[in-house]
């Protein structure tokens, strides 16, 4: 998270942090384990009142930012979500709200209003099943049939699909991409709930079997939405990075505290150099993760040419080194670190889910290489 917040940003962050501490304590998160939605709609509505869903929406559409950069402000919320391992469809709702607002199409005003108010949820369907589960490997077909769009394909994992009234579906029309807003109850749409490591996030497999919608359901140009999809991916990666770093921060703080409190052989764990050096490496990885997450958010906000490179670098680094940091925290806790009773796994779960979504560290590593080699003129 940013080192320097404006007073308004700090107030905003603090308000969200206090709200989450009150409404998403660890016991509540554990309680939601078997809950179909994973979160209470009233909790989400009140969160929306705090501004959680309005930051990527233009002021004309009823949104607005704290600092002038809504995405940076959103990282403050995402960071607190990670720190508290909080439930709620933060990423999908914001990505869809941003896309609807950017489309400038008044036809979606009602849904956008619902997202802003927290009374509606919508989600983004990007990933697809094995063997086409690679980032950007999109086989979902969106065909134009006179004045209709026809959808064929499968998307997974789709976050909060069962709680969403609408699905923003990314598919292929000829050589280019198309995005369509599909009501979840449209004929031909079917959902299969998935199992997941996160206690409060819910994912589904969503099948589109000849779903027919009017052309007006397209968000952005038909067959030419590639740049828009890339932009959404950047937003998603920035949110995931901030949330992952929040989860890492909680796990790290908890483990440092443990190292001071836990005695073996008459001295605290924190006095053993073997562990001190591990903590030093973890601290370096943690600060580096904060730094690259913020750099990525700044680049996407400014729309600089390196935004793709930096968001992927953040995803790759935070996923890989953060995963090791998380497991080191477990190791230093010992057996208690792998029990359900201990809180550590709540953050481990969140980091683990975020690491695997929207491209693995390996995929993003290779994406960084592609950007870098193209710039160096090597390919």
């Amino acid at each position: 998270m940013l080192l320097e917040l404006s007073p308004d940003q700090e107030f905003f962050r603090e308000t969200t942090a206090r709200f989450l501490a009150e409404h998403q304590p660890v016991d509540e998160i554990r309680r939601r384990r078997g809950d179909p939605a994973g979160f209470d709609p009233e909790y989400w509505r009140r969160g929306a009142d705090l501004g959680w869903t309005s930051l990527l929406v233009s002021e004309e559409d009823g949104g607005g930012s704290i600092s002038g950069s809504g995405l940076v402000d959103l990282t403050l919320v995402a960071h607190e979500f990670g720190r508290h391992a909080a439930g709620g469809p933060l990423l999908p709702t914001n990505v869809v709200a941003s896309a609807l607002s950017a489309s400038g199409d008044d036809a979606h005003a009602e849904l956008l209003g619902g997202l802003l108010a927290g009374t509606a949820v919508a989600t983004w369907c990007l990933g697809e099943p094995i063997p086409h589960d690679g980032l950007g490997d999109i086989r979902m077909e969106i065909r134009v049939d006179r004045d209709e769009l026809v959808l064929h394909g499968v998307k997974r994992p789709v976050e909060s699909a069962a709680q969403s009234s609408h699905l923003l579906v990314t598919g292929r029309t000829g050589r280019g991409l198309t995005q369509v807003l599909v009501p979840t109850d449209a004929p031909g749409v079917s959902l299969t709930p998935m199992r997941t490591v996160d206690l409060t996030r819910r994912f589904s497999v969503v099948r589109f079997d000849g779903v027919r919608l009017p052309l007006s359901a397209a968000i952005g140009p038909v067959g030419d939405a590639d740049a828009q999809v890339e932009r959404q991916l950047h937003q998603a990666l920035v949110v995931l990075a901030a949330e992952s770093v929040g989860a890492m921060q909680s796990a790290f703080d908890m483990t440092v505290e443990w190292a001071f409190d836990r005695y073996s052989f008459g001295r605290p764990l924190a006095s053993y150099q073997a562990l001190k050096h591990r903590f030093a490496d973890m601290k370096a990885a943690l600060e580096a993760s904060h730094a690259i997450a913020d750099e990525a958010a700044a680049a996407v906000t400014a729309g600089t040419p390196d935004a793709g490179e930096l968001t992927s670098a953040a995803k790759a680094y935070i996923g890989e080194s953060g995963g090791e940091l998380m497991q080191d925290c477990v190791q230093i806790h010992g057996g208690i670190g792998v029990t359900f009773e201990h809180d550590l796994h709540l953050y481990l779960r969140r980091h683990t889910v975020d690491r695997a979504l929207f491209g693995t560290p390996d995929e993003h590593c290779r994406r960084v290489a592609d950007f870098y080699l193209a710039r160096e003129g090597v390919a």
């Binding site: 080192l3 006095s271 150099q273 001190k276 903590f279 030093a280 370096a284 670098a313 993003h364 080699l373």
Partner: protein, 417 residues
């Protein structure tokens, strides 16, 4: 009071200066220098050119951006320095003057020098007239800096120094040195040290060049025999050298991340300028997914390292982080560089072991690999940095030592010292 120069205007000024005065470079010259592919004559010519560039920067009002104006600096901000570093990408810059002259020697002078010392030395540094070294490590030990055995004995208005210092990079073409010496053997080690400054090319200093395993002869060792230093060249109080030393160490760990350092963004950051893209291309592996992963990993480490340097500079600058946080950056960059050297060697395949002049960027990756650990040793080992992070940043208990509260002459030493 004048307003600080507007950043955009500053950027335009730097851009114009660079275009008109500096030669373009692809960084390969810099890599050659690090790999010891220059003769002594070429090295001296490169030093002379660096002094020239520094003088041009000074004359253009672009030297010592974060140094107060009363000492010849510009009194600007780290943000200005960052812009200078951004705008110098692709241009030559005074490589030989950055470390250790601009960091850590310059900040030590700024913090602890008397007004007269600062007036005498800082403008000369900013004009490229004097290049500084650290007489810090000794043959008896590098990490235990405060265990220095080099001794200074007072003789009237002078001090007489005897002992040996080592790992002074480029001392053979440098001018002045900051020297940590023991002035009292009858108190615990941290309380018997004093810092001096002295010219290097003088009677009583016998300078040897050490041959490294890759053939480089840039590292030096000095033998000091009855070297007389006026008391006016003492920095800080007698026997209080560790007060200076603590800050000196922090500035050393900050190293090239210091806002006093001028270095194009991305050229270094502890990565020794190797273009992993060029290595992968020379190796014919740009379409191999595993090689792509390695190239990506290497570049991710560069991007993350730059972001981390930025964050720590901002945090230390604003006071949100203590100066000890520099050890976090040092730890990261040491290990990241080690990893990058390994990746380059890995990409090279068998050409990492045996190569010809036609092998392009692969050539030399084997030598770099042999020298890999330098990034985790030079400038204070990563182990020491890890201690600092754990103990000073995270507040964990200090390691036990056998030299606390004991007169230094009673401290156990190895048989050879």
């Amino acid at each position: 009071m004048t307003d600080t120069e507007d950043l955009d205007a500053f950027r335009r000024r730097v851009r114009a200066f660079a275009r008109e005065n500096l030669q373009r470079t692809d960084g390969s010259e810099f890599v050659r220098a690090l790999r010891n592919e220059r003769t002594d004559e070429q090295e001296l010519a490169a030093v002379a050119r660096d002094r020239e560039i520094q003088r041009m920067l000074y004359d253009a009002g672009l030297a010592g951006l974060c140094v107060p104006t009363e000492y010849g600096g510009q009194g600007l901000t780290p943000a200005h320095q960052w812009i200078l570093n951004e705008e110098l990408v692709g241009y030559e810059f005074p490589t030989h003057l950055q470390s250790p002259t601009f960091a850590p020697c310059l900040p030590v002078l700024l913090e602890f020098g008397t007004e007269e010392q600062k007036q005498r030395h800082i403008p000369a540094v900013l004009k490229g007239e004097t290049i500084w070294m650290q007489f810090l490590s000794e043959p008896s030990g590098g990490s235990d800096v405060a265990g220095a055995l080099t001794t200074a004995v007072r003789d009237g208005d002078e001090w007489v120094l005897n002992g040996s210092k080592v790992w002074t990079t480029g001392a053979w073409w440098s001018d002045w040195a900051l020297c940590l010496a023991r002035t009292n053997w009858d108190v615990p080690k941290h309380r018997g040290l004093t810092v001096f400054m002295l010219p290097i090319n003088r009677e009583g200093i016998d300078l040897h060049r050490i041959e490294m395993l890759n053939g480089s002869r840039e590292f030096c060792q000095e033998f000091l025999t009855d070297v007389r230093v006026p008391d006016a060249d003492r920095i800080g109080d007698v026997d209080d050298g560790w007060t200076v030393g603590i800050r000196w160490m922090i500035h050393e760990r900050t190293g090239l991340n210091s806002p006093l350092v001028t270095m194009p963004v991305g050229v270094l950051g502890g990565t020794r300028g190797t273009s992993m893209g060029a290595v992968a291309q020379s190796a014919g592996r740009v379409h191999d997914p595993r090689a792509l992963h390695l190239v990506g990993e290497s570049h991710v480490l560069e991007l993350v390292g730059a972001a981390l340097r930025h964050r720590i500079a901002e945090g230390v600058g604003s006071g949100k982080m203590s100066g000890q946080a520099s050890a976090v950056g040092r730890l990261f960059s040491g290990k990241a560089t080690v990893r990058r050297m390994t990746i380059a060697f890995e990409l090279a395949g068998a050409a990492g072991a045996a190569w010809t002049d036609d092998d392009g960027s692969i050539a030399g990756t084997g030598d770099d690999y042999l020298m890999r650990q330098v990034s985790c040793i030079g400038g204070g080992t990563t182990e020491m940095a890890a201690n600092v992070v754990a103990e000073r940043v995270l507040g964990m208990p200090r390691e036990r030592t056998m030299d606390r509260d004991v007169a230094f002459r009673e401290v156990p030493r190895g048989p050879s010292h």
